[in-house]
């Protein structure tokens, strides 16, 4: 059972022929070569496969591609090429947020999702915002402070 699914991926319209029950994660990685989306747990628990669906964070391992019909998906590779995403990535790099890096694309999505809804989060709000993204390396402290760094560096840009 193959269907045409249309959606916007990283700013571009795509149409793919695929089983609509395929996981968004698999379609992104296998059919559309978005290897920046990582598979960590396969059950929506770790956040490594996070992407933005209509600008809200979702775990792509839980979404059948059929549900994405006519919606918009953004992955970390695209997000980090935008003005806001660049600020987050640079802050992550300078702030020591990145260790093994496997959780980081998802973590960037979580940070972006948070900052687009809250332009000046407190430490507590940051911790809450990334609480669905599990990192085994950092203990989170330097990720949290890197997001604060992104807030300070970005200034008014987060209000846009």
């Amino acid at each position: 059972m193959i269907k045409d699914i249309d959606f916007i991926l990283n700013g571009k319209k795509v149409t793919i022929k695929v089983n609509p029950l395929s996981r968004l994660l698999d379609v992104l990685r296998d059919n559309l070569n978005c290897k920046d989306v990582k598979e960590g747990c396969s059950e929506g628990e770790c956040g490594a496969c996070s992407v933005l669906l209509d600008d809200r964070i979702v775990t792509s391992c839980l979404i059948p591609i059929g549900a994405v019909q006519n919606h918009e998906i953004k992955t970390s590779n695209y997000v980090t090429s935008t003005e806001k995403g660049k600020i987050i990535a640079e802050a992550f790099a300078d702030g020591g947020a990145v260790q093994c890096g496997f959780c980081i694309p998802g973590m960037i999505i979580a940070a972006y999702d948070l900052l687009s809804r809250n332009s000046n989060p407190t430490e507590e709000e940051i911790r809450l915002g990334i609480s669905g993204n599990i990192c085994r390396c950092t203990g989170y402290d330097l990720i949290v402070s890197s997001i604060r760094l992104a807030v300070e560096r970005g200034g008014d840009i987060w209000k846009k």
Binding site: M1, K3, N19, P20, L21, S22, R23, L25, D26, R29, D30, E39, S42, E43, G44, E45, C46, G47, S50, L53, R56, I57, V58, T59, C61, L62, I63, P64, G66, A67, Q69, N70, H71, A110, D113, E124, E125, R127, L128, G129, I130, S131, G132, N133, I134
Partner: protein, 306 residues
């Protein structure tokens, strides 16, 4: 293997027609079903029959207060939408705000959480507590029933083949009570499955008499527990040490936790005792928690102004 099909209706009418003629698995947010049916990476999830994806049915979204003053929540509202809405009763917002991971809360729906009928589910507790009803719709019309009746037992619901959960209607909110309590003990501070969750609400009448008292507990048996006989032990009486003990002992008979029984029974007892003995003191804060400095960051604030 028989042919597995996948339907993606664009309207409620279309969805109901599909349900009328086909035997399908209804997939809302996918947060439970996609895990349950997961396959090896890169392989299509394995469903035993055809699937209908309803995630994007706009008619089943939105939250409003109806003409009776009840909160009506579309079955496809996500946990985050519920947690962020100030018109949703506080107990339910609490439950929604601490359900799973942030990303999952943008997928998981209230309808799906009820239909999943897991004794560890986050939504049923508050819905039992507040006498919430589900609205079930088919081509032949609609019916409503209490969520607590709709969930029959572990993983079993009273849904006919051609019916869809379309709405959840909640007649009570924190405004109807003087004191409220909701506490989830998760496996960790966030992104957690419930080890035990207890919800309570109490209203006084004149002269310290309890006018209304409600108590629900999840992860304490095959389904969410609420028992009106236990609540009636207190309603119409004053809160006394003796009454508190009677409620505690009676509720202990109601619950039947299999794993971690000592912990689940003892913490349930302690939470009930804590709530009722605090109510007795008429503290200024109408939200009562397990101890004074307890605070869950990011938890929703109640709305009491009427």
């Amino acid at each position: 293997m028989e042919k597995i099909d996948c339907y993606i209706p664009e309207t409620l009418q279309e969805a109901l027609e599909i349900l009328h003629r086909e035997d399908v698995i209804i997939l809302a947010g996918g947060s439970d079903l996609m895990v349950f049916h997961k396959n090896e990476p890169s392989l299509i999830p394995e469903f035993e029959k055809s699937v209908m994806i309803i995630r994007n049915l706009n008619e089943l979204k939105g939250i409003r207060i109806n003409s009776n003053g009840e909160c009506e929540i579309g079955a496809l509202c996500t946990s985050n939408e519920i947690a962020e809405s100030t018109i949703v009763p506080w107990h339910l917002r609490q439950a929604a705000s601490r359900m799973g991971a942030v990303g999952l809360r943008n997928s998981a729906t209230i309808g799906g959480n009820i239909a999943n009928a897991s004794p560890k589910g986050d939504m049923p507790g508050p819905l039992y507590l507040l006498d919430a009803r589900v609205k079930l719709t088919s081509l032949n019309g609609s019916r409503e029933m209490l969520v607590s009746d709709f969930i029959i037992k572990f993983k079993s619901i009273d849904l006919k083949k051609d019916e869809l959960i379309t709405k959840i209607i909640i007649p009570y909110s924190e405004r109807d009570f003087d004191y409220i309590f909701w506490h989830k003990v998760g496996t960790r501070k966030s992104n957690a499955i419930s080890k035990i969750t207890v919800g309570m609400a109490l209203k006084f009448a004149e002269d310290e008499i309890v006018k209304d008292f409600r108590l629900s507990a999840t992860s304490t048996g095959a389904k969410t527990n609420r028992n009106r006989d236990v609540e009636n032990l207190l309603i119409g009486s004053k809160i006394t040490e003796e009454n508190i003990s009677r409620v505690i002992e009676a509720f202990d008979q109601v619950i039947s936790p299999r794993a971690m029984p000592v912990f689940r029974r003892e913490s349930t007892k302690r939470m009930i005792r804590r709530f009722l003995s605090q109510c007795l003191l008429h503290p200024e804060s109408r939200v009562i928690d397990t101890y004074d400095s307890y605070y869950v960051p990011g938890s929703p604030k109640p709305v009491f102004n009427i």
